[in-house]
């Protein structure tokens, strides 16, 4: 990465700017997902967040996960969501009562949780840097596959069964009989 290094602090500005933009988009998108009055808009905002997440994964040097994220989430899961929206709602458009009556209850809960997490994170990782430049040792796809098929083989199998069960379960549940 063509590095523009700050003289005082060896921080890659381009990365930081990229991160900031994507993060802002993601947060706005996420807020839209939970506040939008239109289900389809919410779903599209979710696409934004998920794509943003994929970009963040790239910044974290996890290309394979990013690609998978795009394929699975942005591709498959979102289509599923849109189908779900279409199949369960006749009208596509504005809907007044998407929220619970006492939805404001969520605000203090979320804020308290955010407060606790932020406090702990700032306390714990005050200025811990991610390795970058020469120190960085990006995780190769080979390392990931070694990890999946060696120490985490059993979870992998279990996951295969979960997916199988989910496929069968989804068919059984959604089937008109």
């Amino acid at each position: 990465m063509s590095a523009v290094v700050l003289a005082t602090d060896d921080i890659y500005v381009a990365q930081n700017i990229g991160f900031g933009i994507i993060a802002a988009v993601m947060i706005v998108g996420a807020l839209k997902v939970v506040t939008s009055k239109n289900v389809v808009h919410a779903a599209l905002s979710l696409v934004l967040v998920l794509a943003g997440a994929a970009a963040q994964y790239l910044l974290l040097a996890a290309e394979f996960v990013a690609v998978t994220q795009v394929l699975v989430y942005v591709g498959a899961v979102m289509v599923l969501f849109l189908f779900g929206v279409m199949l369960t709602r006749a009208k596509l458009g504005h809907e007044a009562d998407l929220n619970n009556r006492n939805h404001l209850l969520g605000v203090p809960v979320a804020l308290v949780m955010l407060g606790v997490i932020v406090w702990v994170l700032i306390d714990g990782f005050e200025d811990t840097r991610l390795p970058q430049g020469d120190q960085a040792s990006p995780i190769s796809i080979q390392a990931v596959s070694d990890s999946i098929f060696k120490p985490y083989l059993l979870p992998f199998w279990a996951l295969s069964f979960v997916l199988l069960a989910a496929v069968i379960g989804a068919i059984v549940l959604a089937r008109k009989d």
């Binding site: 996420a30 919410a42 963040q56 619970n100 939805h103 995780i139 068919i171």
Partner: protein
């Protein structure tokens, strides 16, 4: 880059997702909020994976994506079933769990 950038982003997304789960009435919207939560977790996992130079975080992020796909599949199928039976997916009308 500070690792806190990513961790705080994850925290914000997580809390927004939590708010969504609590506040939303529409079952599909709740599922979307759950996706937000799962993604925030993934960001954290990958950030730590990079910090420690360890592939485990990547592995688990992949597993979470797979589980999330399964969850959405089954979840939407259930929503569909509920809709078929009740012509509504408003969660506050589903109170079978009320005692």
């Amino acid at each position: 880059m500070l690792i806190n950038n990513f961790l705080l982003l994850g925290a914000v997304l997580f809390c927004i997702g939590v708010y969504g789960v609590i506040a939303r009435k529409n079952a599909v919207m709740v599922l979307m909020s759950i996706e937000l939560i799962l993604n925030s977790v993934n960001i954290n996992l990958l950030a730590f994976s990079m910090l420690h130079g360890n592939a485990d975080g990547n592995t688990f992020a992949l597993y979470i994506i797979a589980v999330a796909a399964a969850e959405v599949g089954v979840g939407l199928a259930m929503v569909l079933l509920i809709y078929r039976n009740r012509k509504s997916i408003a969660l506050d009308e589903l109170s079978e769990m009320k005692g």
